[in-house]
Symmetry: C2
Subunit: 226 residues, 2 copies
């Protein structure tokens, strides 16, 4: 892994993301001070459970998955972060080791923000504190929602849910491209790849057509009823 400084393009991605968007320019600059960039191949591990973390990570491009392991070596995804998302913040602020592993799932560009500095800024800049609180709330909600879904929904229902979450509000029919391999989607939904495949089959009768990464929905109503 080689590390370098931010290009102006990288800066643009960072500043345009959800976290930085609501920060006044000087505060954003302060957060970015001392940040570095690294490139990673697909499958590269960014850190392991237990590793000491003193950076907050930002996905400039690509995709990162956060996952835990059982003692038999099995893996379970906790979250999947697309371009523009921030992670590792909880370990930094609680000042404890990572509670999970992180792995690039596609070739990815990752920015590392100076953790201690960010902590300081949370104290000094109310705007930074506010942005961080919002980020943590959003992440917390997502995780809670996923936990509830895991416990309440069957495989086809989870997939239907995911599809609906990708859909522009109100259109009765639509289509979109999966932003990653089905592999990854299966992990994100807490399913074995085979189960995802079968779920798509089951949804075919409700008007879902899958061709490669292209998903087409004929009847939104049917999906919601599922």
């Amino acid at each position: 892994m080689k590390t370098s400084r931010l290009t102006s393009k990288d800066r643009a991605v960072l500043l345009g993301s959800r976290f930085f968007a609501n920060l006044p320019a000087p505060a954003a600059e302060a957060v970015l001070e001392g940040a570095s960039i690294s490139r990673h191949e697909a499958q590269d591990v960014l850190f392991h459970q237990g590793d000491a973390i003193d950076h907050v990570f930002f996905v400039v491009s690509g995709l990162v998955r956060l996952y835990g392991t059982g003692k038999d070596g099995h893996e379970a995804d906790i979250a999947v972060f697309p371009k523009g998302e921030l992670f590792g913040e909880k370990a930094v602020f609680l000042d404890q080791g990572a509670t999970a592993h992180a792995q690039a799932v596609q070739p990815s560009i990752i920015a590392r923000l100076d953790g201690p500095k960010l902590c300081r800024l949370v104290h000094e800049e109310a705007a930074v504190a506010r942005a961080l609180v919002l980020l943590l709330c959003r992440h917390g909600q997502m995780t809670e929602t996923r936990l509830a879904e895991d416990r309440l929904l069957t495989a086809p229902q989870r997939v239907a849910n995911y599809i609906l979450s990708q859909c522009p509000n109100g259109s009765p029919a639509f289509s979109f491209r999966l932003p990653f391999q089905k592999n990854v989607l299966a992990g994100k939904l807490g399913l074995a790849p085979e189960a995802l495949s079968r779920a798509f089959s089951a949804l075919r009768q409700s008007g879902v057509v899958v061709k490669g990464r292209l998903i087409e929905i004929r009847d939104r109503e049917a999906l919601e009823r599922f």
Copy 2:
């Protein structure tokens, strides 16, 4: 539900909790200004999914469970908050409705903190912001951990894990009392009550003795291996 002002006893519980403990006294007082108290029977619902929330809730005594429902009416616990915990903060800060239901599981005393005021204080008082960030990080970690456990561990493993989490570090044998009904523990662990019962049976051979709410562990090692 009848509402009243805080007694000095209530204040003491609040100020001694994790969230308030690290706040300077004046900041803590500011957060408590305008707070109210309510008593609830077991089974009382505090709010439903979708309800507008403009208070942050604090468990002064008792126990509250947060849960989601599927369309068939089934329920799944998202979190269980004992005395001293704070919840509802994410809905308040994101300014959206509750994403889950909340129900008292034991007779409980609940404090309601003024949400908008807390928002303002996060801006104005760095100490409040810091305390909130830490709270959100802790909650986020817990939820992520639970999500991973759900996906990685079998029922007996989850129960073994819970027992170990209740155990003072380092003692090879110990015992403790469940702080709530097995019913509730089952929900917290994402199990049907029957599954919890059977899990306890399975753990008997590893030196776990259960008598009512009293749990006795003979061989800590055996549990960790499970």
